[in-house]
Symmetry: C2
Subunit: 416 residues, 2 copies
């Protein structure tokens, strides 16, 4: 249909023109004024306490204590269950968050501006691996680290990023793709590239070498530090693609551990929701599929822009980590995703595919026609609150979201 | 022959057991007491002034001025031509140097200790790209940067490396291979990995944040910073492999811009020398093959340990940079080098080849039998003194070195 083809052409154009730049790190409330007392953002489509999964509840309780709205976790749980907390998706406030994706007022967020379109997107700082709030952790160690991010790293990163005049993210991703990163479950290269640009600015703006060393050691010691930047970048790229008449391109995919939701350009802000799938993956020593929570997080925004599982061919090492088969078979994922996308990104290319661009712009029509659901590389959280990450794997977006979206778009275009 | 097979088994064992650790950065004279006034080390096998190529002469003249042995380049050239300077290969002093490879007494060198065998190897710090002494540069900018390396970066790196207790290099290379580096013409990933480990220690040991920022910016801005570490590592790994009775494994390959030289384990310290080849490559804008100097540098030590051109399959991006054909054909180089090597390195694997180890231990017999000369990824210097780098390419080691070596080994084993 002409109107759909035109809409998708415009959608792809806006995606490729996006120019995401990390411009600041600030407390969340300073850029999201709606984040007042007892307001909490979470990953995925809308959800209320009774339907939240274990790790999401754990993270919520931890965040309530962290913000000082309750003195301990038990009180926090009662408070959340009583309806005293307002829950909203990150996506409703120009934000994204990995796994549980909790964002509250005092947490530092990275500010990524899409310089082509002027919009901004936000994401919290990556907490590192193991027992962390994004995987449902909420003990003193987890909250202590969040306090350090709030009081030390966040402000110091903000000073450094402002002094540097911002960091262009598109070129970092381009290099990362030639260095084995797919920017979802593997961010080793991009973290190093950011470190190389950022470290001199941290040094220039720091007044305390002990504090500086702590910041550098934290970033340097965390292979996934770039993930949250990639997510804010993804949100900044996709937001201007929303609301294009007729377009069947997916503008967001996200999950809250209970539901999977997608938004499509031509159907505006409607969420198409279905029960979330269980990842197929590999488990850390001592854990198994019996411990796993279903899929979770706003991080699938990176697949929406053509990286993550869509760029598996760039990252043979990640194929092993997420249990996606042999390294040489990684290319199959990328080729398959080429069948459900509207184009390729000439600036983000994959050397092992002779510099073919990553498959870009998921078309809900192609997903339904081919029966090929988008593939997402993901971390796996323990299903109980407070435990943390237990593995990593691959998950498919539920087909039901796409069939709903196709029907809604058809209704809107009067072609039902 | 049993004695050769046994020798090569022992050679491979020693290579794989090598445990290279960067333990310090110190002035060259403190670890190489022979480096007195008017003593100068260069890359490749022995050579005297009359046979030196243009960029080597340029670098020699620059180093003489840098050390204060002559007031200007003209006087320096006269001094060198008069026989007043003693020239020696780096390899004769446990050292290696890229391209012209000049090492003089006050230059800082990295100290890499092979913890398994206790030997140490040295290499100067990488100067960055463009007009630099290793490519024959010798003007005020070049000498000013060398002074900064001597007075600022060298001492600061030394403090940081000592405080950290050293950095294990083998694991960095292992990760680099999964991130598109081959550690000769591409060191983007390893430089980032080193930066992530090093930056906190630089911060902890620094007393001046401006100086710290300068150091971090220099390392962070130089994609090839790791190359010189990889070279010192290569020398540290290969030195214990020298002098194994019967072994036909190459322990060093190097070139001085005029001659190519190799050493073989079973023939001790003898150099087998032949005229050096011209690289086949790609030239920077404004330059062509007519500007190119023949191949140069001790950096081929990295191919001797199985990386560089031998690990081309790990680095499809480098294949384009050095003009080695399409990205997907990069694997052919690695497979071919598998035909002239005695084994694979299980700790250094290539994801794109389903984690096959890099081809390790060049066997001069196999080179001569197959007619396949070792492939080396290399930078290309301008043939005139003072200009600098003009491109990058691939070069083959001259077959004549290997036929000489096979004959010498045969004579020694009385099987001629």
């Amino acid at each position: 249909m002409q109107i759909i083809d035109d809409g998708n052409r415009e959608a792809l154009k806006r995606m490729l023109e996006g120019d995401p730049v990390l411009i600041d790190v600030v407390p969340a409330r300073s850029v999201m004024p709606a984040l007042r007392e007892r307001v909490l953002l979470h990953s995925g489509p809308p959800i209320e306490w009774p339907r939240m999964c274990g790790p999401m509840r754990g993270a919520v309780a931890g965040a309530i204590v962290f913000e000082g709205w309750a003195p301990d976790l038990d009180t926090a749980v009662k408070m959340a269950a009583s309806g005293a907390i307002a829950f909203h998706p990150n996506h409703h406030f120009d934000a994204v968050g990995p796994m549980t994706g909790i964002t509250t007022q005092s947490m530092p967020v990275m500010v990524v501006e899409n310089r082509r379109f002027g919009n901004r997107a936000y994401c919290t700082l990556n907490e590192g691996l193991g027992k962390v709030m994004r995987f449902g952790g909420n003990d003193a160690e987890v909250l202590g680290r969040l306090a350090w991010l709030r009081d030390v790293l966040g402000p110091d990163l903000g000073s450094a990023v402002r002094a540097a005049g911002g960091f262009e993210l598109k070129s970092i991703v381009a290099r990362g793709l030639s260095m084995g990163d797919e920017m979802h479950q593997r961010n080793v290269a991009c973290t190093g590239l950011v470190m190389r640009q950022l470290a001199p600015w941290l040094a220039r703006t720091s007044r305390d070498s002990g504090r500086l060393a702590e910041a550098l050691a934290f970033i340097g010691g965390n292979d996934q530090f770039f993930l949250n930047m990639a997510m804010a970048m993804g949100k900044a790229i996709m937001d201007p693609v929303r609301g294009i008449e007729g377009s069947s391109v997916v503008t967001a995919m996200c999950r809250n551990g209970t539901d999977f939701g997608i938004r499509v350009s031509g159907t505006g802000d409607t969420w198409f929701v279905a029960p979330v799938e269980m990842p197929q993956g590999l488990y850390f020593a001592g854990f198994s599929a019996a411990d796993a929570n279903p899929d979770m997080g706003d991080s699938a925004i990176v697949e929406t822009i053509g990286i993550g599982g869509f760029a598996m061919a760039a990252s043979p090492a990640v194929a092993g980590f997420v249990g996606a088969g042999s390294a040489s078979s990684a290319a199959i994922y990328t080729r398959t995703m080429g069948e459900i996308t509207v184009g390729e990104n000439p600036e983000w290319t994959i050397p092992a595919l002779d510099f073919q661009g990553v498959p870009t712009g998921i078309d809900v029509r192609l997903v339904v026609d081919t029966g090929l659901a988008p593939v997402i590389n993901t971390g796996i959280a323990h299903k109980q609150a407070g435990v943390g990450q237990v593995g990593a794997g691959v998950v498919r977006a539920p087909m039901a979201c796409f069939t709903q979206a196709v029907r809604a778009l058809a209704r809107r275009l009067n072609v039902e």
